[in-house]
């Protein structure tokens, strides 16, 4: 029981990170109907930005850690958002009216460019960061087994929760969110109502990248090591999460992230760590057999 609880906490933490990345996949898919294959690498870049900014602030003499971390997060979100914007401008917008596969190929190209760029600029070896947020709470203790939740885990879960609530509110209640959904459903009609479609699509990439940068920041602090390849692995998982939850559905992305995080953690804990990815992908396959549009994806039934 204690072991189970501990894994639950770990799984939810991991799932939070996947969920934040998955939102970027699902939003971009929702609005332009395509998978942004560079999104995982945007996440990877953001973790490097976090690391570099953090070290820079330290060397500038900023030693008050909470303030430093807050600044790192804000700066990283801004820079990463600029990366997201650039990807849309370079890989998607010029090909908006081209055949469907073209932007897919340029997006994969962007992904490779970002990976190689980081590999060259930062080296191929892993970058470590010593634990910064320490300490943990013991939730229960039984037969010598301790269930703990670390401060870092609390921060990750709370931050994700707050971001997702804020973000859901943004999408469902604000004018920006409405125009975003309008562009998803009918771009021409949105434009007829005065919505600037190009700007809305750009904003979608920017918001997705900003959320991924929060994930990248937390990943760095939680695991303490990053390299140029983490974007590929985490990206595939988050993408799986988005599809599992129902691509295009925001609650689906959050739920999918959570499920993938839990499956991975529990599989590693109870079965074998080598096959955790197999378990995650197998779940996806099984769910898609029975629910082809994912857990919360809605099959289209509309009156025309």
């Amino acid at each position: 029981m204690e072991y189970f609880l501990q894994q639950l906490i770990n799984g939810v933490t991991l799932g939070s990170i996947y969920g934040l990345i998955a939102i970027g996949y699902t939003m971009v898919y929702g609005i332009i109907g395509m998978i942004n294959f560079a999104h995982g690498d945007i996440f990877m870049v953001s973790s490097f930005i976090s690391l570099i900014v953090f070290l820079a602030l330290l060397s500038l003499g900023l030693t008050f850690i909470p303030l430093a971390l807050f600044l790192v997060l804000v700066i990283s979100m801004v820079i990463t958002a600029a990366y997201g914007w650039t990807v849309e401008r370079l890989a998607y917008r010029p090909l908006r009216d081209s055949f469907r596969l073209a932007p897919l190929i340029t997006a994969i190209g962007m992904s490779i460019v970002l990976q190689n760029y980081v590999q060259i600029a930062q080296g191929a070896r892993v970058k470590p960061l010593p634990p910064i947020i320490k300490g943990s709470y013991t939730l229960m203790e039984h037969d010598g087994f301790i269930v703990q939740i670390s401060n870092m885990q609390i921060i990750i879960i709370l931050t994700t929760l707050i971001l997702m609530l804020g973000f859901s509110w943004l999408i469902s209640r604000t004018s920006l969110g409405r125009s975003q959904r309008a562009c998803e459903q009918d771009r021409t009609m949105a434009a007829l109502l005065g919505v600037n479609v190009d700007r809305t699509i750009s904003l979608t990439f920017v918001i997705g990248a900003a959320l991924a940068s929060v994930a990248g920041f937390m990943y760095l602090l939680y695991y303490g090591v990053i390299d140029f390849y983490i974007g590929f692995v985490a990206g595939i998982k988050a993408f799986t999460a988005a599809v599992l939850g129902g691509i295009g559905s925001l609650p689906g992305a959050m739920l999918g992230g959570l499920i993938i995080g839990l499956i991975e953690t529990f599989w590693s804990a109870y079965f074998s760590i080598e096959y955790k990815d197999v378990a995650a992908f197998a779940t996806l396959a099984i769910v898609l057999i029975f629910m082809p549009s994912g857990l919360l994806g809605k099959p289209e039934v509309e009156k025309v």
């Binding site: 309008a182 434009a191 007829l192």
Partner: protein, 249 residues
Amino acid sequence: MSQPNPLLETPEPLLEIKGVNSFYGKIQALRTVDLSVHRGEIVTLIGANGAGKSTLMMTICGKPPCRDGTIRFDGRDIHALPMHEIMRLGIAQSPEGRRIFGRMSVLENLQLGAFLTDPHHFEEDLERVLQLFPVLKERSGQRGGTLSGGEQQMLAIARALMGRPKLLLLDEPSLGLAPLIVKQIFSILKELNRTQNLTVFLVEQNAWHALHLAHRAYVMVNGRITLSGKGSELLEKEEVRAAYLEGGQ
């Protein structure tokens, strides 16, 4: 009723289209179209299926763009502007096929209609359109895609009105509606035109109703304007009666 209020008439029409050609790829859909709509007027465009009526509506809004000629609205050349900037100048369209956002509620569709207006006006404008179309009030929480065809048509018109347009473009507002509802919608338009001096340009298959409602009318054949004049005059013309009225009403 057949003459627009002379006090509000300015020398320049609100909308002036001159020599416009419009294409879908290599297919030419509009051929040197000249047309104007004055402030406070109701103008209708009638024509057979495929004549190019919807194309003209969309060309005014910027897509497809007009390749030759000029379109002026409210004293500005608009034919080179992107769609969202044209709409910003005070044009609203209830387009062909209604294009309701099916996965959004009726209220959200109306909120989107007010995308460009000052949020302070929203409650007042909402009240106004819901008074015109009380059905929408009962359905305000329902998803647009689940409304009946007629209800969707009313929503499309209401959504366009939410934008407080200077010029209202309506593409076949009577399509698929019961005769009683058509009457109702046309009398609403007449009322808005009379009381609020709303300028309306509408495309109609239902030529009899449209020609009775409109101050002036144009007839389009194969992308060309072939006839124009007062609505009541066109109703008398033999070629109009033969092509668009007999067997209709």
